[in-house]
Amino acid sequence: MSKQQVKPDFFDKPENISKMLKVFYGVCILLVVADFMVHRHIYHSWENIPAFYAVYGFIGCVMLVIVAKAMRKVLMKEEDYYDK
């Protein structure tokens, strides 16, 4: 236990984090490429749009964060808001 506290851990080293991120970006690119090569049985014509899921997922997540950040300005209250 005490040894762990002194020694920097796997996730404490920036080079490990950057290696992991590279792996994830690689997986990400591979999946988009696979989308062009693997023939999928699709349900919806929108799924024919190249890299539909990648683009939609990206736009969705970016929008989610931007909107949520704007909402924070309106919604955020002090911890003791109701006690005042």
Binding site: Q4, V23, V38, Y53, C61, V67, M71
Partner: protein
């Protein structure tokens, strides 16, 4: 041996467990509390569909115990949830919490096996009256106030249900709880709408949902596990029974799936993040009920089953963090993987399941609901559910494990939670993987409506794996692997 025992109402074994918790102490109490859900679950296995008990009440036929495939499925789920929650709470020495937890679980069972509206009302109210003590048991001013607000909403739901039921019974001449629907005229329409609204409050429909995000995070670490398992799932059951194929539910459900994710992204209390996420997952189920095809309905109840387990697992992991550190705000936590590696891994299994990662339990049921939406021409709904699924991944899949266990090191050094808490999480995690890997032999063998579905074709795998999600899901898988290497 079991079949030779007299047939008991399904809620009775847990009620006996509750009485044992009240009068017994020590290991004997623990043993009986653990045996009660096992006994109840085994008894269910011997039940044939049918009406087991009926009586006359003011000229109407009451059927307090009705067994069919839908009620049996929820029956198994609630016994499983009760067992996991009891294991998780074994270290607690507070009699109030044990009694409240088991009587609450027993009420949920009574509600799903109720064959008529009046019996349903009785258990509906008992759900409220028993569960509020799990909030008050935190014994803080905040919990007391949140519990009062919770109780007011729940009693309102009960009053609406009773009023609606009386109108409905008087005009139809039957008390039986079966399909109600909203397509009626005159007073009958009013009755149906009142019942719909009563179910809607418990189901946390938009604008009727505040009780949930207000009170669940104020309950005790162990109490929240019970709370997250029963009330909303009883409401999902009631909607599936009373209002299948009601189109309004599709739009209510899709709103429920989408709006909480914005709040979950900015919320700091990690158990409150999960409370928002609970509404979001119930939204998927409500959409399935609204679509009303057998694929959609099966998807809805299967997702209810899975959600109790993976949301329970996530809540348990955050409960363990709160129990060990006394803190639950994301901004005050971080780096806990160093001192709670097992809890970290178990939390990541829950995160992968709620994110519908292949081979984990959320994958199949979420795909069923989304396929059903496309099949019925709900294009916009499908697109919004896709967005909601990405949002779940963002706040429940990534935010929860990241802020609690990784992020910046908060300097908190603690230990793993008590063994019983770890065991309860391990059982839930094992179930998430077992259901995800062998869907046809587990939850999907219990589905109430006739349908065939092949979950693992290539479309579903690639569809559910949107690249942004994949990247993040791989984080989860890799972290699990790395942690396993380091600590086990």
């Amino acid at each position: 041996m079991i079949s030779s025992l007299p047939m008991l109402p399904p809620f009775l074994p847990l009620l006996i467990g509750c009485i044992a918790a009240l009068v017994l102490r020590g290991h004997l109490r623990s043993a009986i509390m653990l045996l009660a859900p096992i006994w109840g679950g085994l008894q269910l296995a011997g039940l044939e569909p049918g009406i087991y008990w009926s009586m006359d009440f003011m000229g109407y036929q009451l059927e307090p115990v009705r067994v069919d495939k839908l009620s049996i499925m929820f029956g198994y789920l609630f016994h499983l949830a009760a067992f996991i929650a009891v294991v998780y709470a074994l270290h607690v020495k507070d009699t109030l919490q044990h009694v409240a937890g088991l009587s609450y679980a027993a009420s949920a069972l009574g509600a799903v096996f109720a064959g008529d509206l009046l019996t349903l009302f009785v258990f509906w109210e008992m759900l409220a009256l028993t569960s509020v003590f799990l909030i008050w048991a935190r014994r803080t001013d905040r919990a007391y106030s949140a519990g009062m607000r919770y109780l007011i909403m729940k009693v309102l739901s009960g009053v609406l249900l009773l009023a609606g039921a009386i109108i409905f019974i008087k005009h139809t001449g039957s008390a039986r709880f079966t399909e109600i629907g909203l397509e009626h005229d005159g007073a009958l329409s009013l009755g149906a709408w009142l019942i719909f609204l009563a179910f809607g409050i418990k189901c946390a429909f938009p604008f009727l949902h505040n009780w949930l995000t207000d009170s669940y995070p104020e309950a005790t670490p162990t109490g929240t596990i019970f709370l997250a398992s029963f009330t909303t799932k009883v409401a999902v059951y009631a909607l599936a029974r009373g209002f299948p194929g009601t189109e309004l539910l599709v739009w209510i459900g899709v709103t429920m799936a989408c709006f909480p994710i914005f709040f979950a992204v900015i919320e700091n209390d990690l158990r409150r993040v999960l409370a928002y996420s609970l509404i979001n997952q119930v939204g998927f189920m409500v959409v399935g009920i609204g679509i009303g095809t057998s694929l959609a309905l099966n998807g809805a109840v299967a997702h209810a089953f899975n959600d109790v387990i993976f949301k329970g697992l996530l809540m348990m992991s955050m409960g363990a963090v709160l129990h060990m550190t006394g803190r639950i705000n994301g901004s005050e936590l971080g780096g806990l993987y160093k001192s709670m590696p097992k809890t970290t891994i178990l939390c990541i299994v829950g995160a992968a399941s709620i994110s519908a990662f292949p081979l984990f339990s959320g994958f199949v049921s979420k795909s069923m609901i989304m396929s059903a939406a496309v099949a019925q021409g709900y294009d916009v709904v499908w697109l919004l559910l896709l967005f909601a699924a990405a949002g779940v991944f963002h706040h429940a899949g990534i935010k929860i494990p990241y802020f609690a266990f990784f992020a910046h090191d908060s300097g908190i050094r603690t230990t793993e939670p008590p063994h019983n808490m770890l065991l309860a999480m391990a059982i839930a995690a094992g179930l998430c993987i077992a259901i995800g890997a062998f869907p046809a032999h587990t939850v999907y063998a219990l589905l109430p409506w006739e349908a065939t579905y092949q979950p693992y074709d290539i479309t579903h795998v690639l569809t559910q794996l949107r690249p942004t999600e994949t990247m993040m899901a791989w984080v989860a898988v890799l972290l699990t692997g790395i942690l396993l290497l380091y600590y086990i």
